[in-house]
Symmetry: C2
Subunit: 198 residues, 2 copies
DNA sequence: GGCTAAGTTGACGATGCCTTCAGCTTATAC
DNA sequence: GTATAAGCTGAAGGCATCGTCAACTTAGCC
């Protein structure tokens, strides 16, 4: 079990470095995405690259800690947006998905986190899972209302984020919005719907 | 005819190497995508990596020659599929887009060529342009029939290939089909359509 | 002030790719 | 059979990144 092995408290300078690194990493990731070189982050924090390894152990660990928080903030904001949206579950679902997608467009770090799989970042994964769970609930509501197609699965919604993320990465913001709009059209329940392929 | 700039004829062995390299490159690209290392290609052709540079000048030039042909074949096949499809322009359009997308799923080289921009591959670009022109015509027909939404632009269709390509690269074939199906639903003209965002 | 364990540093080796080029091999013409 | 230009080779140099570690620095305790 990962019983915290009672690590001795950090020295004051080390604690300061952790803080500086966290900040620098968050900035670098948000500017350049999760591929930002450690060198850049270290320089930004005013420490050497070795210190990253001393304090965090690995690139993935740093990433997990920093982006986890960043992603959590965005996801919460999107939930709040959904909750604050007038209308039924359908409207809230669109608001939620739209808000997450806008977040992906606004922040490369969030985008990479949400769409690319970073398998060695458990905390990050947890945030994404929570987000999908929330969307699942809204989708169930929207389906019950008769606004969302009956045969749309949760995986379909999850893939919206993948698609949106790829278009963000391609730098095509106009296209991103168009594709999203078309997908939303496709989600709508209609009298003449027949089952989707797949 | 593209007037050849009168370069002196190749020696027989060099001509053979060009052929072996073309073949090896086509195979490697189709197996591993356009990122296939030159080392791999050279080994496969039974020559040294230097020979690639002697014969083609650069990675991009090799790529342009080889993938251009490969892509052209796929595009022609898709056009033939569309032409052979019963129904109106709408049905042909779906058949065409579906055929290209299936090609992207079947061949990583075609996929990379069609979705990632390889800006230094002019012949390749020409193939893609021809493909889009064909789709544009079909779309115009489908719009005239009243089957395709009035406000769908050619760029929207082009982005289908981008989206499809990204999902192929993610290895999610089921998802690819679902997203495509949803997008097709979104394309359909309906009495209650109101303008798309963007 | 001095000691020492905690912490930092940055050059280094490893990886994986591209591209070059000096030196060697060989097809071809005579 | 030989000369020679065409062609081939692969080691070497680049570049960008990761992760390590021996040697140095310093916080914090006495």
């Amino acid at each position: 079990m990962p019983e915290a092995p009672q690590s001795p408290p950090l020295r004051a300078d080390a604690r300061r470095n952790v803080e500086k690194l966290r900040q620098a990493a968050a900035d670098a990731f948000s500017e350049h995405g999760l591929d930002a070189p450690l060198e850049t982050i270290a320089k930004r924090a005013g420490v050497s690259i070795g210190t990253i390894y001393n304090r965090f152990g690995s690139r993935d660990a740093l990433l997990d800690q920093v982006v986890n928080e960043l992603a959590d903030r965005r996801v919460r904001a999107a939930m709040a947006t959904a909750d604050g949206t007038a209308g039924g579950a359908w409207e809230k679902l669109l608001a939620y998905v739209g808000s997450i997608c806008q977040g992906q467009a606004d922040d490369p770090a969030f985008n990479d986190a949400f769409s690319r799989l970073y398998p060695n970042a458990p905390a990050l994964k947890a945030v994404c899972d929570r987000s999908l769970a929330f969307a699942t609930e809204l989708a169930a509501g929207a389906r019950a209302e008769g606004a969302l197609r009956q045969d749309v699965l949760m995986d379909d919604i999850a893939r919206f984020f993948q698609v949106n993320g790829d278009l963000v990465r391609a730098g095509d913001d106009a296209g991103r919005r168009r594709v999203l709009a078309l997908l939303f059209e496709g989600l709508r329940a209609r009298p003449d719907n027949h089952p989707l392929a797949g």
